[in-house]
């Protein structure tokens, strides 16, 4: 049995009201009129589907959300520390949570050379804000590859490296991970235990499955080298292995050069594919070249590797999201094909990368004077952190705090894995207003000469009063 009309779109002779046709002007004068008419039509039509009863009725204020079942996600553990810190009103509070550099005065730092470069860019009226190519700023890419691999790198000279600008380290890891999930025969990546909290999520969402290899030894607060070799030795041939190029996050524990050499030999003998995360080049030891040694040795043996670079810390460009993914391949031909596939990953993710931060980096890297200025400012940041390590160590020793605290000066980079347990950490937060992640990781960048004594007090109390 057919109703008097078929739909509001088609013109019809409905007995009770005038319907609107598809092209002529509507007879509705207001939203409520429209709703009333819709209700009448709704009641009259045979065509309403079983689903659109009450919740989809045009007369209700709004239908049920199709996302009503979405629950609130968990707070990010690292960023949550700063949230808690901000809520604290104590004048003695200390934020040793997030990994961003702070000056002696506890302030964020924009490098002078960055300000200079940025000013040059802004003053240049010939510059435009057009889209970058999908792979990003060409100069930036070339210079970034040279920075990490070395200007004399055979891989670069032989055009075997493809570099694409990405959204800092995170973006580089994600794009690399997606590429591997699509084009590599081994879908498992081995990450060190522990590692940066976001690594697992990045690779999982990229489509890889994540396994771990032993890395940190709580007993020595150093490297569990035996465990590392065993675990990599028993990984399936060809598996991907994530390596922190320097200044391991969160432990600050790095292999020695001899140990790196053993790792390299083992990995190459099992065709394990290295994926380096280089977030601290120059920031760890103060020397760009020294901090690149692990990567360069792998690249020098002619083998292939992936490499995520970030300028967040070493150029202080955190929020600008500047980074690069480089892949070293066997031949130039493969490199070119790989690049075309990287573009296909990037285009549906964000089309092309942001221009501002990469332009700052390129400006600095290509100018000899600016580059030198940068290395000086970079060394100053690294030196301040190293000095904080020594101050804290000396202070704990002077206080006679029980335990061996030499790991503080043996570890490198922004973070120290103190070895404090979650109860001790909670105690330090509650009694001394010291904020850090519950794994006992402290950001040395958040310390100053002024606050070292307070931290020493807190650690001493935690170690002597809390099991």
């Amino acid at each position: 049995m057919s109703p008097q009309f078929t739909s509001p779109g088609a013109h019809s002779s409905s007995p009770t009201f005038s319907s609107s046709s598809s092209s002529s002007s509507s007879s509705f004068s207001s939203a409520s009129d429209r709703r009333l008419n819709a209700l009448v039509r709704h009641l009259a039509t045979e065509e309403s589907s079983p689903m659109d009863s009450i919740s989809a009725s045009p007369t209700s204020a709004h239908a049920d959300s199709v996302f009503a079942h979405v629950v609130r996600g968990p707070e990010d553990p690292i960023l949550g520390v700063t949230v808690a810190y901000n809520k604290d009103h104590s004048p003695h509070k200390l934020n040793l949570g997030v990994g961003a550099y702070r000056t002696e005065e506890g302030k964020p730092l924009v490098l002078n050379v960055v300000r200079k470069a940025e000013q040059n860019l802004v003053n240049d009226m010939s510059r435009v804000k057009e889209y970058l190519p999908i792979v990003g700023l060409a100069d930036f890419n070339k210079l970034s590859a040279r920075l990490i691999l070395g200007a004399d790198s055979p891989a670069i000279q032989e055009n075997r490296v493809t570099t694409v600008q990405c959204l800092s380290g995170t973006g580089s890891l994600r794009v690399g991970g997606e590429f591997l999930a699509r084009h590599y025969h081994e879908r498992t990546i081995y990450i060190p235990q522990p590692t940066w909290g976001n690594h697992t999520k990045v690779f999982t969402l990229a489509g890889l499955s994540v396994k771990t290899y032993r890395y940190y030894d709580p007993a020595t607060r150093g490297l569990n080298f035996q465990g590392l070799l065993e675990d990599l030795g028993s990984a399936p041939a060809g598996a991907v292995v994530l390596l922190h190029a320097c200044a391991h996050n969160p432990t600050g524990v790095d292999p020695t050069l001899e140990q790196w050499e053993q790792i390299r030999q083992l990995m190459r003998s099992r065709a394990l594919l290295p994926f380096f995360d280089s977030a601290y080049q120059g920031f760890a030891s103060g020397s760009l070249d020294a901090d690149a040694q692990s990567v360069r040795r792998f690249a020098a043996d002619g083998g292939e590797l992936l490499l995520a670079q970030s300028y967040a810390k070493n150029m202080g460009l955190y929020g600008e999201r500047v980074g690069a993914l480089s892949i070293v391949l066997k031949t130039a031909e493969v490199a070119s094909k790989v690049e075309s596939q990287l573009k296909l990953v990037i285009r549906p993710m964000y089309s092309n990368p942001p221009i501002h931060g990469a332009s700052i980096v390129a400006t600095i890297l290509k100018d000899r004077d600016l580059f030198n200025e940068w290395t000086i400012e970079l060394k100053a940041m690294a030196d301040r952190i190293i000095s904080m390590r020594h101050q804290l160590f000396d202070s704990l020793r002077a206080k006679g705090t029980p335990g061996d605290w030499s790991h503080i000066i043996k570890q490198i980079g922004m973070f120290t894995f103190t070895g404090l347990n979650p109860e001790q950490v909670a105690f330090m937060t509650k009694e001394y207003h010291i904020y850090m992640t519950s794994d006992g990781r402290i950001s040395m960048a958040g310390l100053s000469s002024r606050t070292v004594p307070h931290l020493t007090e807190a650690i001493h109390a935690a170690v002597t009063r809390v099991a």
């Binding site: 598809s22 994600r174 999520k201």
Partner: protein, 340 residues
């Protein structure tokens, strides 16, 4: 001003101003905090975050995409692993909207489907529904309980008036839809390479908005951690200052007017040349692109004989037309179409 990390959801100031543009300066939804929003990597990033969110929380769903659409839309939902369907949109014979086909497809889609709509200045055709047609589309979509996701990449850039260009969205809001919107500042503020945009989802209440936003952040964190700081700083500086905002409104109108002027000029030139074809669609269509109706063969001739470059579907970017070249272009188009 420093370069510290933004929160995962991006610049709060920029996002606030951006929502005002889409939802209305005094929108009750803003007051009631019902909108879950995150700063995104321009329009692409907003669409991708939404597609990933759709996959995660409505894994059974698919997306209906207009024919034709911006090519990257297909890539985005494909990479998010959301199955795609299409709906009728462009009518080649009229070079206008296939309204009946569109409505049919809305009605035939299973209830609760997800529909991608271009809020204004449809890319690539330049064909937009009229206000009345939008009202009907809204009604039909509501009746089937479909979810409407708007890609708004040209607010202000289409007609010259941001409020006018948001009309479709306002109609849907008035009708009680809980919509999603992707917004981009690439064209209307010329911030192309800065990658500034915003994804928003209107929720039932504040609690839900908080939950949805937290989940959007969970998707952004493993993609790029937090969005770039520079571009949004420009946006919030402009929109947060009345004088700068007025200057922007004037400049965006200038851009839109120039393009509208070129549409008129090109059409008039063709008519003056005595073209046997109708070029009405050139001024009916809106935004950056004109779907000329030329065949691939005619396009090839334009390129080979006249050194004019455009995509083979006959889409002309009106932004590339100037008073300096419009006569030349009209002449070339006339040459390749006069015996059609």
């Amino acid at each position: 001003m420093n370069m510290e990390y933004l929160p995962m959801g991006g610049s709060v100031k920029m996002v606030e101003e951006t929502l005002k543009l889409a939802y209305g300066e005094t929108s009750e939804f803003l007051k009631d905090k019902r909108i879950a929003t995150v700063q995104s990597l321009s329009g692409t990033g907003a669409c991708r975050l939404f597609a990933d969110f759709q996959k995660r929380f409505r894994p059974d769903s698919q997306i209906y995409i207009p024919v034709p659409t911006w090519a990257n839309h297909h890539n985005i939902w494909r990479d998010a692993q959301v199955p795609q369907r299409t709906y009728h949109y462009y009518h080649p014979e009229t070079k206008g909207l296939d309204f009946a086909g569109l409505i049919d497809d809305i009605k035939n889609a299973p209830s609760g489907s997800f529909f991608l709509l271009h809020a204004c200045a449809h890319n690539p055709t330049g064909v937009d529904p009229s206000e009345e047609q939008w009202k009907d589309i809204s009604y039909q979509i509501k009746g089937k309980g479909h979810f409407a996701f708007f890609d708004m990449a040209y607010q202000g850039f289409a007609s010259g008036d941001p409020e006018k260009d948001a009309k479709a969205i306002r109609i849907f809001l008035e009708d009680g839809h809980l919509i999603g919107i992707s917004q981009s500042y690439a064209k209307n503020m010329g911030l192309y390479g800065q990658r500034v945009g915003c994804l928003s989802l209107l929720c039932e209440d504040e609690k839900q908005a908080v939950a949805v936003k937290s989940q959007l952040q969970q998707l952004a964190r493993p993609m790029y951690s937090n969005p770039p700081v520079h571009g949004p700083l420009i946006v919030s500086t402009i929109l947060g200052d009345p004088d700068l905002k007025n200057l922007w409104l004037r400049e965006v109108k200038e851009m839109a007017d120039r393009i509208i002027g070129m549409r008129t000029a090109l059409r008039e030139n063709l008519e003056k040349l005595g073209s046997p074809l109708s070029w009405e669609h050139m001024t009916n269509q809106i935004g950056m692109f004109c779907y000329s109706g030329m065949t691939p063969e005619q396009v090839d001739r334009l390129t080979n004989e006249f050194h004019i470059y455009l995509t083979r579907n006959g889409r002309i970017s009106m932004a590339g037309v100037t008073t300096g070249n419009v006569a030349y272009l009209a002449n070339a188009i006339h040459e390749v179409t006069k015996s059609a």
